[in-house]
């Protein structure tokens, strides 16, 4: 079976565009965390940039970094996972439909509200006629895209794939999410170790990868397997054990957890921590904020620690030291649905 290597990575996150996992100190996350926008002018004409949704711009920027790093020029597939797409434009259009009573509307926001706008714009930007899919399955949107990427490599002969996860904060949707405590309110403390309040510290961002069947000097790691389910029908440790057995995983050198500071979702991760109590544990949403496709940032962390063979101190969730980092397991869920396991190894 063909392998699936990570050969390039790019990100736009809530941290400074120059942020580095090993050398930078992350700014603390707050109850809401907007992405720090890099300069787009080298990539996108200013006239276009003004009208372009934030999700598209972040994605073009992150995808460009990944493509540059992997040093590729053409693509066999573009795959995007996003829970809400360009939600700011959806809000803008809906708002004007309601406020203007269905009159005086312009198409830009409507067009950008379409979930596959980002993938379509990436195709336009790189003039790519390739296979182009967008997955919109809540907290496993990115894993769905990753799963399809692996199928395209294994079964359909794809050699170079652009894969990414992107989500935006839409201010009105965010305010609705506050009402139901899906996200944190201003007075809530953000504590990833002993959360006391419901809701996640909302974030946004774009994380892109070049996946290839070919190992190169740029290769970070190999994605071996990804599995996701909509609901957990058994205790977390049994679900994890099933995955380890199915994939013949004898040893996990580190686990990367999607802990998100929500008191209601914490018990699941505590169960995972207990199961892996002798294994180094990492977390990352205190750096990236929480959003449905943030697990793509988790994959970036996995790829970087495997390449560097070192865990950045700011990602350590427990005190267990790593002897080696050859086999890493990502555990993610969002709002107690859409559970996923992703296994990444050195190569």
């Amino acid at each position: 079976m063909k392998s699936c290597f990570i050969n390039g990575i790019g990100s736009v996150t809530i941290q400074d565009p120059s942020y580095d996992l090993y050398t930078s100190e992350a700014q603390d996350v707050s109850y809401v965390n907007y992405a720090q926008q890099p300069s787009y002018k080298e990539l996108i004409a200013p006239g276009m940039s003004r009208r372009m949704a934030k999700g598209i711009k972040m994605s073009i920027y992150a995808a460009n970094q990944a493509i540059q790093e992997a040093q590729i020029s053409d693509l066999d597939a573009i795959l995007v996972g996003t829970s809400m797409g360009c939600i700011e434009d959806s809000e803008k259009f809906l708002q004007s439909v309601i406020e203007n009573d269905e009159e005086y509307l312009t198409p830009t926001a409507f067009i950008q509200s379409t979930h596959n706008t980002v993938a379509g714009q990436l195709a336009l930007h790189w003039k790519s006629n390739a296979y182009n899919f967008t997955f919109v399955n809540g907290g496993s949107s990115f894993e769905s895209a990753l799963f399809d990427a692996m199928m395209q490599i294994r079964f359909h002969g794809a050699k170079k794939i652009l894969l990414g996860g992107v989500d935006e904060i839409g201010s009105y949707t965010y305010s609705l999410f506050q009402k139901i405590h899906k996200v944190k309110n201003a007075e809530d403390l953000v504590d990833f170790f002993q959360p006391q309040s419901a809701g996640v510290p909302c974030g946004e961002g774009a994380n892109f990868f070049v996946l290839s069947d070919d190992k190169s000097e740029k290769t970070y790691a190999e994605v071996k397997s990804v599995s996701f389910i909509n609901k957990l029908y058994k205790p977390a440790h049994l679900w994890i054990e099933d995955f380890l057995v199915e994939n013949n995983i004898a040893c996990v050198d580190a686990v990367i957890l999607g802990v998100n500071a929500d008191v209601n979702q914490h018990a699941f991760y505590e169960e995972c921590c207990n199961y892996f109590r002798h294994t180094p544990q990492l977390y990352y949403q205190h750096i990236a904020g929480s959003y449905d496709s943030v697990s793509a940032f988790g994959l970036k962390v996995a790829a970087e620690i495997i390449k560097k063979q070192q865990i950045p101190a700011q990602c350590m969730y427990n005190q267990v030291k790593a002897n080696r980092l050859e086999s890493v397991l990502l555990i993610h869920q969002s709002d107690l649905i859409d559970y996923s396991l992703t296994w990444v190894t050195s190569c």
Partner: protein, 398 residues
């Protein structure tokens, strides 16, 4: 070792009927489902025509035996209704007995609820549960629950080609043994959001839509849901169940021309058809019927027609059933997959309604009458915003 992908069940609800039989009957009786909007108010009600399903959400919930107090979007209600029919049609009694998945698709998700309650959550806390129903994955989650599925489930959204891509992904998983069977398709409800969106693009017709006609004025939006059950041929045969048709070819390509318009020469459409033929390993001349995308917008029909002329040395019988149903967006490729299966089963070509004047750019005349002729292979096209072009090929035997 790859297995063949058999279709063993189909389910559908559209403006021309809430069962497979009703849809077939309407198609062969040339009975259109295009009407005026009734289920909700829009300022444009007199300027547009729609392919609306004349059942309220309450009626749909009652057909599904669901409580009236719920947080179900119309997208879910339509989807659950069609998915359940597909499961029954495939004679599945224990859905978790085999490795079964659900790959659904939608473009509007829970927008129908969001637009209704957007500003009223403070005054009506009882609407708060709807907030979590907005995102597209919610309908898939709830359809999985409704049919009792505990397995692989995901959601695609690539605008108007969404369901074709869900079918394609399901076929890849079954033929490579990742699942034993999978329920694939799409669902989309009419909403004020999409009506106004397409209105701003100025591609909505104020009359019944007229695909491939010189004087076509645009599309009619519709709503629908349809699902197919795909099974590994070995498993379908072992269970002794009737195989309705096979998925023999599929392809997706990007036009990479414009976010909403199709290229002059239909490059994306040409490439998706080309890929589908390579996969099916049949020649274009073997296609007996094309269920075209045929939205009746000036741009689509011209671009698609040119792509057809590029790939077929002689274009076979073709039609656009959107003249019956309207353009049902993410569900379109799923309902047209059901019609393609019906075409194979009944050896029948469905007409395009309302056609009068051939387009001046080329000589392509869609079928305008029902006719019965042996059908071995059907090709179905679906194209969406973002340059997304998809083609499926359905075959009687492999």
């Amino acid at each position: 070792m790859r297995t063949k992908v058999a279709i063993t069940g189909i389910g559908i609800i559209s403006s021309i009927g809430k069962t497979v039989e009703e849809n077939f009957h309407a198609l062969v009786s040339k009975k259109s489902g295009i009407s005026r909007l009734e289920n909700f108010y829009s300022k444009h009600v007199n300027d547009i025509k729609v392919g609306e399903i004349k059942h309220t959400n309450e009626e749909l919930a009652s057909l599904l035996h669901l409580p009236l107090e719920h947080s179900y979007s119309r997208t879910f209600l339509l989807g659950a209704y069609a998915a359940k029919q597909a499961v029954i049609s495939a004679q599945i009694s224990d859905i978790n007995e085999l490795r079964t998945g659900l790959i659904s698709s939608t473009s509007v998700g829970g927008m129908d609820l969001t637009e209704k309650h957007y500003k009223s959550y403070d005054a009506h806390p009882e609407y708060l549960p709807y907030i979590k129903s907005h995102h597209a994955g919610d309908s898939t989650q709830k359809i999985a629950d409704y049919i009792g599925l505990k397995g692989f489930a995901t959601t695609l959204s690539t605008a108007c080609s969404s369901a074709a891509n869900a079918i394609m992904m399901g076929a890849t998983m079954v033929e490579n043994g990742l699942l034993d069977r999978v329920i694939v398709g799409g669902t989309d409800a009419l909403s004020k959001f999409t009506i106004n969106g397409f209105k701003t693009l100025m591609i909505l017709s104020d009359t019944d839509n007229t695909p491939f006609d010189q004087n076509r004025k645009g599309l009619n939006l519709g709503e629908a849901a349809a699902y197919l059950v795909l099974e590994s041929e070995y498993i379908a045969q072992a269970s002794g169940k009737k195989i309705l048709a096979y998925i023999s070819g599929y392809g997706n390509a990007n036009d990479a021309f414009h976010q909403t318009a199709s290229s002059e020469n239909g490059e994306g459409a040409y490439l998706s058809m080309k890929k589908a033929f390579e996969k099916a390993q049949i020649q274009p001349s073997e296609i007996d019927y094309i269920n075209a995308h045929g939205t009746a917008t000036p741009n689509n029909d011209l671009s698609e027609g040119r792509a057809l002329l590029r790939i077929f040395s002689s274009v076979p019988a073709f039609s656009s059933t959107k003249s019956y149903t309207g353009h049902t967006l993410a569900a379109a490729a799923a309902i047209e997959a059901v019609y393609s299966v019906l075409s194979l089963q009944e050896n029948c070509i469905f007409p395009t309604l309302n056609f009068q004047t051939p387009m001046e750019e080329f000589h392509l005349i869609p079928a305008t009458e029902v006719y019965y002729t042996p059908i071995e292979h059907v090709l179905s096209n679906s194209f969406g915003f973002g340059g997304n072009c998809s083609t499926l090929i359905f075959s009687k035997d492999l």
